[in-house]
């Protein structure tokens, strides 16, 4: 059989694909536990960033234990669910999919209670769509469950220099001090406004120029996710 014959070419490529596939699977399976641990630590760091605690990779676990005093799981009526699932382990993507398949009553919402400098802060994980892929983040509310204490956003593949700017401190700092309920107590969320807004506007922040889809994604993400927690806020305030 000549090595350039069709048969040899076919056999060679099939064999190569199988060998490479086995190599990759073995690597992926062996390294999976280490990667999973890194992702957990990264999640802890992101949660801590939303309350302005800069955790290094090494001490993120300790700081998380220290500051996050309570993890709560809520259902869509705002009641605490006592179950085996911890708030930290809830996969937001799966919970969002439940809403799509009309299983809203089975949705679970994680909430983290943080104690920092004597204040209680409520940290809510959010997740939505950017231009190229998912965007996510954590929004921390002060004890009044209205004023934003801080946010941290992340993204998978937004355009560097445009959509990716949501990850910068400059954009995230704009959220501090904004309010999610208006004076009459109606839920308005915080909107990312294209074309800019007055810094004194308590319900809006400046969009990143040129990143319309990502900015709208952030607005939608905050409005929808925070909306899920309104029943809980109302109960807690009474």
């Amino acid at each position: 059989m000549h090595k350039d014959s069709n048969k040899a070419t076919f056999l060679f490529s099939s064999g190569m694909v199988v060998v490479i596939a086995i190599m990759l699977s073995v690597t992926a399976i062996t390294l999976a536990p280490y990667q999973a641990k890194n992702i957990r630590i990264e999640k802890m760091r992101n949660i801590l960033t939303s309350v302005s605690i800069d955790a290094k990779f090494k001490d993120a676990e300790k700081l998380f234990e220290k500051y996050i005093i309570k993890q709560v799981v809520l259902n869509n009526k705002g009641e605490e669910v006592s179950g085996s699932t911890k708030a930290f382990d809830i996969d937001l993507k799966k919970e969002m999919d439940k809403a799509k398949t009309r299983n809203q009553d089975k949705q679970l919402f994680p909430l983290f209670v943080c104690s920092k400098e004597g204040k209680s802060l409520f940290i809510i994980p959010v997740r939505g769509k950017g231009l190229w892929g998912p965007i996510w983040g954590y929004i921390a509310l002060e004890g009044d469950m209205n004023t934003v204490y801080g946010v941290s956003f992340g993204h998978k593949s937004e355009t560097p220099g445009l959509g990716a700017e949501i990850e910068t401190e400059k954009f995230q700092n704009e959220f501090t001090g904004k309010k999610i309920f208006d004076e009459s107590g109606k839920f308005v969320s915080v909107k990312v406004i294209k074309g800019g807004t007055d810094p004194s506007n308590p319900y809006g922040v400046d969009a990143v120029s040129g990143a319309t889809v990502t900015s709208d994604g952030v607005t939608e993400m905050l409005e929808r996710t925070l909306g899920n927690y309104i029943p809980y806020f109302k109960k807690a305030k009474q």
Binding site: A8, S13, L24, T27, N38
Partner: protein, 233 residues
């Protein structure tokens, strides 16, 4: 399948170069040359001007540059080795696909290791580890060297070219981190008192164009000192 004895068919772009005569030592003068030649006389970045794109992107800080350099050395050396081992059985018509698959496999493995053991650096390098696949240096070495040479010299050639690339990367990153952030490997080098006297970090150095200028300066210095690189008119 025994086609090892068969002569390579037509269509190969490369001219076979014989490097290792029988009985030659593992680190003979010829083999040593494979390592140090790409560091200077035949540097992939400054002489062949390949792999510039990633050299601009990852050189803002020293730590990601070092990790990137190591990754490229590993990918380049092992893909050279693998391709060289199977070079006589690769069907000529699909050789580029075969090379690409091997390189892609290596890159994914390296990426998985980075994610498992140096997660923060892997996040900074993000897409650029994956883009090692498209780094012209690696495919270039496979086509020009590994396809027509024995495994051991090919392996050394891979290490040499990876190091040549890494060397430039690290030099550029030292300049950029020192003048752009006043730090090296994340440790402050330029003391606080200098800043108080009115010194500023040069933010232009952090931008990608400055990397190109630094590479240009390196090429200039190298060409003015290395007689072999001066073209005759």
């Amino acid at each position: 399948m025994n086609y090892k004895s068969e002569v390579m068919s037509t269509g190969t772009v490369t001219t076979p170069v014989k490097t290792k005569a029988p009985g030659e030592g593992l680190f003979s003068a010829k083999n040593r040359k494979l390592i140090y030649d790409p560091l200077n006389d035949n540097n992939p970045i400054t002489v062949q001007v390949l792999g510039i794109c990633s050299a601009l992107a990852v050189t803002v800080k020293m730590k990601p540059s070092i990790v990137m350099a190591i990754s490229v050395v590993v990918v380049c050396a092992f893909s050279n080795l693998i391709i060289s081992i199977i070079r006589n059985s690769i069907p000529n018509r699909i050789r580029i696909i075969v090379q690409l698959t091997v390189v892609a496999g290596m890159v994914i493995i390296v990426d998985q290791f980075l994610k498992a053991f140096v997660f923060d650096v892997s996040k900074q390098l993000s897409v650029f580890v994956g883009l090692i696949i498209t780094n012209c240096i690696i495919m270039g070495r496979l086509e020009a060297y590994a396809m027509s040479n024995k495994p051991w010299p090919s392996f050394l050639d891979g290490i040499g070219n990876g190091l040549g690339y890494g060397l430039i990367l690290i030099i550029v990153s030292i300049v950029r981190e020192l003048f752009g952030s006043g730090e090296l490997m994340g440790t402050r080098i330029i003391p606080e008192s200098v800043y108080k006297m009115g010194y500023f970090n040069n933010s232009l150095v952090i931008m990608p164009p400055m990397a190109l200028i630094v590479v240009g300066v390196i090429i200039w210095i190298q060409r003015s000192r290395n007689r072999k690189l001066i073209e005759s008119k």
